[in-house]
């Protein structure tokens, strides 16, 4: 299960991570987000040790959602060395997401 990240832990878990981090902005009421969860779990498994997957609940973490101008969920960001490398919006299949994230 991908780790839950909050405003307090974002810096350590994402920005200071040694490996690239996929951040999934999601919410419980969003069906496409729920259907993206297994896709991300698979990606986490496939890229274990190379890429980390974490989740931000936009309902609880409005500050983070605002900071990254999340305007549609699911939105997935790829962070590398503390910087946003890619952003992908919407539900898609694993192979498409991996490609779009540039993994």
């Amino acid at each position: 299960m991908p780790n839950k990240v909050t405003t307090d832990t974002f810096k350590k878990e994402v920005l200071e991570s040694d490996i690239p981090v996929i951040v999934d902005f999601w919410a419980q009421w969003c069906r496409p987000c729920l259907m993206l969860a297994p896709v991300l779990e698979e990606i986490a498994k496939d890229f274990e040790g190379k890429v980390k997957v974490v989740k931000v609940n936009v309902d609880e973490e409005g500050y983070l959602a605002n900071q990254f101008r999340v305007s549609s969920i699911p939105t997935v960001y790829l962070f590398e060395n503390g910087q946003v490398k890619n952003q992908v919006i919407g539900l898609m299949r694993k192979e498409d997401l991996v490609k779009r994230l540039g993994l």
Binding site: A27, C33, D59, D96
Partner: protein, 287 residues
């Protein structure tokens, strides 16, 4: 509760309903009208018709056949599908419950052609109020649409903001819809959607309107609108299904033009039959 709710009464939907009925399943077929095929006048390439046949004739015959074999058929417009333990299909008039849903509503229509429209998809422009409405709480929200589907989205958005503007994009607005809109109403055609990183403004022929979020719900929901809200994969404007015609959402199947491939009656009918056989197997496992 129905075993299967088929949405769409064209060759895919009606074929599926007929096969499902023959498996002695309890089937409801919901159709809004005769669909795209019903508006096609000349069909010369469908098997076993010596003379040209109209699409309208084919669809009507298919529905009559389904009715004769015992399928429940209603002429209603579906505006939403919900999935918890079972499926709830909401129409403009009723709500139905089914164990399985088959989407067979034909090819999704392209969206509106307005400058900036594609650019802002996912950047303030959303196709799903229930997914993204929350993000715009207490902000300026715009909704584009002119029918029941728009009202459905509007109703969701009312939970998040009092500052909502409805844009009809110059499309006709039926009186019973207009009566339901208590919000600002802009009826002239859209010219452009503007912003920076995100949507900021809607420009119409007669004015400019600031918005933080813009929701699109034009006309009748398409197969993709259903798929999107329920979390089914869409690729290149078509619903993605597996070899059993099931989407990634368990119990949600799709067949016919909405899944792409050959956009022909013969293929849609074949899809319907295949989907029905898979659904029958799926329901047996479900028990």
């Amino acid at each position: 509760m129905y075993d299967v709710i088929v949405i769409g009464g064209g060759p895919a939907g009606a074929s599926a309903a007929i096969y499902l009925q023959r498996f002695r399943l309890n089937v409801l077929m919901i159709m809004k009208d005769l669909g795209t095929l019903g508006r096609t006048n000349h069909i010369d390439n469908y098997w076993a018709f010596e003379n040209t046949v109209s699409g309208k004739h084919l669809v009507e015959q298919g529905v009559a056949q389904a009715v004769r074999l015992g399928v429940d058929v209603v002429e209603e417009e579906v505006i939403g599908i919900e999935n918890f333990e079972s499926y709830k299909v909401k129409t403009t008039k009723n709500e139905y419950e089914g164990k399985v849903v088959l989407i067979a509503t034909g090819q999704a229509k392209p969206n509106i052609k307005v400058k900036g429209f594609r650019e802002y998809i996912g950047k303030g422009l959303s196709f799903c109020a229930i997914c993204d409405g929350f993000i715009y709480r207490n902000k300026k929200i715009g909704v584009i649409g002119n029918a029941e589907f728009m009202l459905e989205e509007l109703d969701v958005l009312r939970n998040f903001s009092d500052d909502i503007t409805v844009f009809t994009n110059g499309l006709g607005l039926p009186l019973h819809i207009e009566e339901e809109i208590k919000e600002k109403l802009v009826t002239d055609p859209l010219c452009e959607i503007q912003g920076d990183e995100v949507v900021k403004k809607v420009v119409t022929e007669d004015g400019e309107y600031e918005v933080d979020g813009l929701f699109v719900a034009i006309g009748t929901p398409s197969a993709n609108d259903f798929a999107l809200r329920i979390g089914a994969f869409i690729e290149n404007n078509y619903i993605v299904v597996d070899d059993n015609y099931m989407t990634n959402v368990p119990g949600l199947f799709a067949a016919g033009d909405c899944i792409g491939g050959l956009l022909q009656v013969v293929k849609a009918a074949s899809d319907g039959a295949h989907a029905a056989i898979s659904i029958n197997k799926y329901l047996k496992i479900l028990k």
